[in-house]
């Protein structure tokens, strides 16, 4: 995870969901602020711009789209906005992006997905401040490509390194085989099963010396990193 933890503002009108999200963020060492309606949320976002704004679309008072538009018009910097919505038709998404959203998450979502996207957004918009991804005892310097686990440098060849970076960026979500192949090799993956050998090598370097394995397989079709601390 990045240090320091990003500041997140959540505008969500459902109190139970607010409480759950609060607890989830705290578990991951992130302090999040909350607002229950559009207007107070907008004021909070304008007075103290967060690293990421998580914005529900259906809000009392000022709805999410209006909040986003006014934020874009009035804020003195670009606040990354992640929209939460119950509507997932293409038109609804386009409407969200048109009003200035950076990302879009459809309810119901997994907490891990929300967390991953918040982290990705905060990093995308803080480019230059840090290049180090931290997950448990694992740290990856994106610029130099150097990965360490518990301070021990991992000697990885290029493909395994890219696999690890893709998994770390997706953390704590699970990536499927197809998604991994696409992220590492793009549109033209090598013939046969390209993942098998590289994942084997990655697992050997990353997990064998440690007590807790970090690289988990999900029913043979997905892979994810699990924080070991």
């Amino acid at each position: 995870m990045d240090t320091p933890a990003p500041r997140i503002l959540v505008i969500e009108d459902n109190p139970v969901l607010r409480a759950n999200l609060d607890a989830m963020f705290l578990e991951h060492g992130i302090h999040a602020d909350f607002a229950a309606d559009g207007l107070s949320g907008l004021q909070a976002a304008l007075s103290e711009p967060p690293d990421v704004l998580v914005l529900d679309l259906g809000l009392p008072g000022l709805d999410g789209l209006r909040v986003c538009e006014r934020l874009r018009a009035e804020a003195d910097r670009h606040v990354p906005v992640l929209m939460l919505t119950a509507r997932d038709a293409l038109d609804d998404k386009l409407l969200g992006f048109r009003s200035g959203a950076d990302d879009y998450l459809v309810k119901p979502f997994a907490a891990a997905e929300l967390l991953a996207r918040c982290l990705a957004l905060s990093q995308r918009h803080r480019a230059g401040t840090t290049h180090v991804l931290r997950i448990g005892s694992l740290s990856i310097d994106r610029r130099s490509g150097v990965a360490q686990r518990a301070g021990r440098p991992l000697d990885l060849q290029q493909t395994a390194q890219r696999l690890l970076l893709a998994l770390a960026e997706a953390w704590p979500r699970t990536l499927t085989r197809s998604e991994l192949v696409e992220r590492v090799w793009g549109e033209s993956p090598p013939e046969s099963d390209p993942l098998r050998t590289h994942l084997y090598l990655l697992r050997r370097t990353l997990d064998r010396p440690a007590d807790t394995p970090m690289l988990k397989t999900v029913h043979g079709v997905g892979f994810r990193l699990e924080a070991d601390t």
Binding site: N14, V16, A86, A89, A110, T176, S178, H219, G220, G222
Partner: protein, 426 residues
């Protein structure tokens, strides 16, 4: 059947009726004409014989004997046995007959002479073949009648066609309008173009019906959409609560089991909501591009994997990278989520195998087949956590996108066959 052929059937029937009637009338009148000329001819010969008979009877009354007939072709016979062409025998057979065809084209008319007193009857026999008027004209009359009958029939055909076209043109227009109507683009405000007759009434009725149907469909779609959306926020709350509780290690076993039930139900509800929304969406795209199946399938398996927690189930995916589907991606995702989720939730322990056979995907799980009942709303299997809406909605969604979906039972396993392209496509 197309509207054009239906329209033609109507036109053909009208033309057939018209020409059939014309032909019937022509035949009837032709028959009358022939009958009339023969009757007139017979009346003429009969008249001549009457005159001869009157003269003979007068002569017989005066002299007591018969005389030679005045007309050359009339002969007098005292005994029928002297009749030519064996007419005597035929007269005995049918004594009421007064007209006989003879041999070699000869033709006879007969008149009985019954003088007063006890004198024996005598016969006047006229051989009229040289004096027939109609016989030489017969060919000409038949030809004339035939041609004019044909002309009238043709005229009736044309008239029928013209009338049929005039009558069915607005009807055909209306039929084409209804035929071309897409569920997404129902025609509106078309009734004014039609004449103020029965077709116009039908058009106005259709227009009103379409308006009502459209309003109804729209209301239903809005309801489905809004209801599904309303369900999503509470589902998010349930899901996040489940995730947080699931991460705790201090829960007693019973609580953990209950929590798992809640999680599974929530996940099933999520699938149902997604499927309902897919159904409520109107965009049935018939020209969906090819998409790779494997990435969607892997994503679905990963998303549905929590349903397998705590069970010893392994998943074997034997779907080649190159497998493509010609279905809209969200529909494929929704259908697969339901089928895979179902296989995970209802299967016992053992292998879930997903592979490809002729043109389709096969999902085999060790659970018993839910049976045809599962496709009816609100029927659930023993292991099901939610109401049994899931499969019924999936089947509807498949039907809507013309995707063949088949369930079969093989021993203790259930095998689902899902086609990867709309049926009807080559």
């Amino acid at each position: 059947m197309s509207a054009a052929s239906r329209r033609h059937r109507l036109r053909d029937r009208l033309m057939l009726a018209f020409s059939g009637f014309a032909l019937l009338v022509a035949l009837l009148y032709g028959f009358y004409v022939v009958l009339f000329v023969y009757l007139v001819e017979d009346a003429v010969f009969q008249g001549l014989l009457e005159d001869e008979a009157a003269a003979q009877l007068a002569h017989h009354a005066e002299t007591g004997a018969w005389t030679t007939p005045a007309l050359r072709f009339v002969t007098l016979h005292v005994d029928p046995a002297t009749f030519p062409d064996a007419l005597g025998a035929r007269l005995t057979e049918s004594p009421w007959r007064r007209e006989f065809p003879g041999e070699a084209g000869r033709h006879y008319h007969l008149r009985v002479l019954e003088p007063a007193g006890s004198a024996a009857p005598t016969w006047l026999l006229a051989e009229v073949s040289q004096h027939l008027v109609v016989r030489p004209m017969r060919g000409g009359i038949a030809q004339w009648l035939g041609w004019s009958g044909l002309a009238v029939t043709l005229l009736a055909l044309l008239l029928g066609a013209w009338l049929a076209r005039r009558m069915t043109a607005p009807l055909s227009r209306l039929a084409a309008l209804v035929e071309d109507a897409e569920p997404t683009h129902l025609p509106t405000r078309f009734a004014e173009e039609f004449p103020d007759d029965e077709v116009g009434t039908l058009a106005r009725g259709l227009e009103r019906l379409i308006e009502r149907v459209e309003a109804f469909v729209e209301r239903e779609r809005e309801f489905t959409r809004d209801a599904s959306h309303e369900l999503r926020t509470p589902l998010t709350v349930i899901r996040s609560a489940c995730e947080r509780l699931g991460a705790r290690t201090d829960l007693p076993g019973e609580a953990q089991r209950q929590l798992q039930h809640v999680c599974r139900s929530a996940q099933q509800l999520e699938r149902t909501v997604a499927t309902l929304l897919a159904l409520a969406r109107e965009d049935v795209d018939t020209s969906a591009p090819e998409i790779a199946v494997l990435p969607v399938l892997e994503r679905v398996i990963v998303d549905q994997a929590p349903l397998l927690e705590g069970r010893d189930v392994s998943i074997r995916v034997e779907v080649p990278h190159a497998t493509q589907a010609r279905l809209p991606a969200p529909v494929l995702h929704t259908v697969l989520s339901n089928l895979v989720g179902n296989a995970f939730a209802h299967g016992g322990s053992g292998d879930v195998v997903i592979d490809v056979d002729a043109g389709g995907l096969r999902i085999a799980n060790p659970g018993a087949w839910p049976g045809e009942m599962a496709f009816r709303p609100f029927v659930k299997s023993e292991a099901s956590a939610g109401v049994g809406l899931g499969l019924a909605i999936v089947r509807r969604l498949c039907a809507r996108h013309r995707i063949a979906l088949r369930f079969e039972s093989e021993g203790l396993a259930t095998i689902v066959h899902l086609a990867l392209a709309p049926s009807g496509d080559a």
